[in-house]
């Protein structure tokens, strides 16, 4: 069993993230475990546990949540959120935590690579001449190589 010192808890964390109204729904969690019970990722890897994430939020375990790997195992399938009897927006909350973890440089390589691709190209896959030839042969309309407008939009911020 892991133990934490009370001094490690960050009570400001809750206020920091509660500025977004949906986040506060985690306060309604009464730890019934329906989220974890239905989670398809938990079934194959019990290191991943959405109920634990909700309890860690309540306790203000900021570092543990944002520097750890657990949140990144969420498959974004929304099963927990749809099943939650208290309508806690679990998946939306975990998604926001992933964003906060990104600010702390804790992002899996695959996720940061996709972001870079979008900043550079506006879409994940470039459609090159070869692709367009194959598309034409199949009777499909040709597509531009990149999404210029999207690239501009993301980079002008």
């Amino acid at each position: 069993m892991r133990t934490f010192s009370l001094r490690d808890l960050d009570s400001d964390f809750v206020d920091e993230i509660e500025s977004l109204d949906f986040i506060g729904t985690f306060r309604d969690c009464y730890a019934c475990g329906t989220c974890t019970g239905g989670c398809p990722v938990h079934r194959v890897n019990n290191d991943y546990d959405p109920l634990r994430i909700m309890r860690m939020l309540v306790l203000g375990l900021r570092e543990e949540l944002l520097k750890g790997e657990m949140i990144w195992l969420c498959s974004d399938c929304y099963t927990c959120q749809e099943n939650c009897p208290m309508e806690v927006k679990i998946t939306d909350i975990i998604n926001h935590l992933k964003n906060l973890a990104t600010h702390e440089d804790n992002t899996p390589l695959g996720v940061s690579t996709q972001k870079k691709l979008l900043m550079d190209q506006g879409k994940i896959y470039i459609i090159d001449e070869f692709d367009n030839k194959k598309r034409a042969k199949a009777g499909l309309p040709s597509l531009p190589e990149m999404a210029e407008e999207a690239r501009k939009l993301l980079n002008k911020r």
Partner: protein, 291 residues
């Protein structure tokens, strides 16, 4: 019926079979698609790392359709949920809308909230109608036992989708298949995810989630799977061989996109439906159909 067709990133590059079959059956059903060249990524891949960037991409695509005065038909479930969710938040959160429009103004755009986003399957059900699909059915697919995988983002989060289907007891895709005579078969843990989004952070976990589903589908004795999302297809079709090698089990389950199955019932050829592009061979299905 006229829609702008949103392909997203994965379909034109990796899932031409989905695009081909969707376009084929759409033309038969008088569903007209208009191409919008500037459509980009929907924003979904940014949701975890740059949520505002994701909203901006979603909003920009909505603006492009607004400029043409056309609703959006989406083939990929992740794109459908990202675009629908973006519209939902922009329509419910004035502050977010102002913030988004401030950024959009830099490329001369403004989100007005005038277009509707719908998944292709939802359009088949709500706009094309089952009666029309039935009318175009030439070959009854009776005897074809299909296990439908709804996937996640086609249905969820429910709060953005206006209750067009019930994530706890989804029916829409099987209703459509029933129309073309398919035998819908049930299997354990049907609602579970394909594991796709975890692929970026933990491949082993992602493949294990997919493996569970393949095993359950196999156990139920399905001839093939039916799905409506290129990520789910990647997990069950393209990755099936790899999962077999790792687990030592043989699944050999053809994985078809919904319009490929409907297209068979409408009498389109294998090539017209891109069935030759599926990873797991779909040839054996023909013997089921001929029997």
């Amino acid at each position: 019926m006229k829609y702008s067709l949103f392909l997203g990133c994965t379909i034109p590059a990796r899932s031409r079979n989905y695009e081909l079959s969707a376009r084929a059956i759409a033309s038969r059903l008088d569903l007209e698609f208009v191409e919008i060249e500037d459509f980009s990524c929907c924003g979904f891949p940014l949701e975890a790392s740059d949520e505002m960037g994701a909203i901006l991409l979603g909003a920009m695509n909505l603006c492009l359709a607004e400029e043409k005065g056309l609703d959006i038909c989406v083939l990929c479930s992740a794109c459908a949920s990202m675009l629908t969710k973006t519209a939902y938040h922009l329509d419910h959160d004035q502050k977010l809308r102002e913030q988004t429009n401030k950024e959009l103004a830099k490329i001369g755009k403004e989100y007005k909230g005038t277009v509707k986003v719908k998944h292709f399957a939802r359009i088949l059900l709500e706009d094309v109608t089952l009666e029309r699909i039935k009318k175009e059915t030439k070959q009854n697919l009776k005897g074809l036992r299909v296990a439908t995988h709804y996937g996640c983002h086609y249905l969820k989060p429910a709060y953005i989708y206006e209750g067009f289907d019930d994530p706890q007891d989804a029916q829409t895709l099987e209703l459509i298949l029933e129309t073309v005579g398919v035998s819908n078969i049930q299997y354990r843990r049907k609602k579970d995810c394909c594991g796709g989004p975890v692929l970026l952070s933990d491949e082993e976990v992602a493949l294990k989630v997919a493996e569970e589903k393949l095993r359950n589908v196999k156990e139920a004795g399905a001839d093939c799977m039916n799905l409506v999302c290129p990520f789910c297809s990647l997990m069950f079709d393209a990755n099936q061989k790899g999962i077999e090698t790792k687990s030592g089990d043989e699944f050999d389950i053809p994985v078809l996109y919904l319009p490929q199955i409907i297209g068979l019932a409408m009498g389109f050829s294998r090539k017209e439906l891109g069935l030759n592009l599926n990873s797991v061979s779909t040839k054996e299905l023909e013997s089921v159909l001929e029997a």
